[in-house]
Assembly symmetry: C2
DNA sequence: ATTATAATCTAACAATCATTAGATTGTTGA
DNA sequence: TCAACAATCTAATGATTGTTAGATTATAAT
């Protein structure tokens, strides 16, 4: 017969499975990448800078806890988040870590070589200015991530193509660039490039996942 | 010189530290207990059904990631959550686990021998009825946890003392009992006892942490 | 059919973690 | 000062996890 203690142990054990699944830097990075768009193993491995074998092993673990789902499409197997709740979870644990760990705050301060940030607590203001055309919001992630979901009024301007498409951007208005989120350096690079070319550019730290 | 990749690795590493800290059933149980009230190591060990040595080791880990704080009070060392965000994190990861893991849903179904639940999406309704006196809300956790924080209009009726204090409860109104949360069996036990004595009693699954 | 590609499976290693026992520290009250 | 108590530290163990290499599976293109 199962005692109350056995039952409780089993319950906490299950929650711990989810936490264990998230308790690896590379798995967290994979989750963040999947917050942007569904992707094949090869792409995930390249973007997270690990071998395909290792990516496959980590994805298997994430699939076992049903945080992600997989589907074959021709030669590739496409992974995606199993639910929006997983994206919300990623954002929350990142915020908690930023809040609790001095070391993370320090690392992020070090990272911010570009100090030209769009500082505004309320995203509504940005939204309003983007709508009125007072600012131009550009999404510098790869095109397929833009297509999978993007901020309202944003233009797709992948970092790799930005240099060749500068003529599409106005010099008289402020350009606000965003990417995958606060751990991603693409928008910082974009702002550096734009400012060097004489544009008025600011960086938005948040990505699509943070706009829930 | 630090490459972009080194920086990113360090960032995810820090978030993973938080996840690792939560990736143990016993540490999760300790966090849930600390959501109720600050407690001494001895008390935590007893309530989580582990040795004091083990509790101490787990608490050390939680302290290292600044999820909990410790303070000496005489002979005892009292632990408490370092922030309300930790309680919110516990509730969210528990909900995510419930949502994703079939095994957890199954275990919780098995647990619910008492099927007399207060079913209501909006807590406002309960609040209104508690205010008007239409239902009596009782908190069956130990007295000190009630003192550390409880639902509005709730009466403290610790499970251990409930039997001796039945005369303080009305037979003509519905009694709603709550405890530490969905993983806690105290309110179920309370409802069983009350119904056996001829009261109209219902169980509320959520605890104080869930009412954020 | 054969070959190339994408991904997984298997087995192995080292690294990390959970748990326990025994010794130690800090505090209170006699 | 001493004994009792609460909690931690140290060291050792067995179990789990991360990572890699090599073999294997499934699909698409030739």
């Amino acid at each position: 017969m199962k005692t109350n203690r056995d039952i409780k142990n089993a319950l906490y054990e299950q929650v711990a499975r989810i936490a264990k699944s998230a308790a690896s830097p590379k798995r967290l990075e994979l989750i963040e990448l999947l917050c942007q768009a569904p992707k094949a193993v090869e792409v995930l491995a390249r973007e997270a800078n690990i071998s395909m074998k290792l990516a496959s092993a980590h994805l298997k673990e994430l699939k076992a806890t049903r945080l992600v789902e997989a589907e074959r499409q021709g030669k590739n197997i496409i992974y995606r988040l199993a639910s929006d709740d997983v994206a919300r979870f990623w954002v929350q644990i990142r915020l908690l870590a930023e809040d609790r760990l001095f070391e993370l705050q320090e690392a992020m301060r070090e990272m911010r070589t570009v100090s030209h940030e769009w500082v505004s607590k309320n995203h509504d203001e940005l939204l309003k200015k983007a709508k009125s055309g007072e600012v131009v919001v550009i999404d510098v992630r790869p095109g397929n991530e833009f297509e999978a979901g993007h901020l309202p009024f944003a233009l797709s301007m992948p970092l790799a193509e930005l240099k060749d498409r500068l003529s599409h951007l106005p010099k008289d208005r402020t350009i606000v660039a965003y990417c995958r989120g606060p751990f991603c350096l693409m928008s910082a690079d974009a702002v550096k490039l734009l400012r060097a070319e004489g544009f008025k550019a600011l960086q938005l730290r948040d990505g699509v996942a943070e706009w829930l």
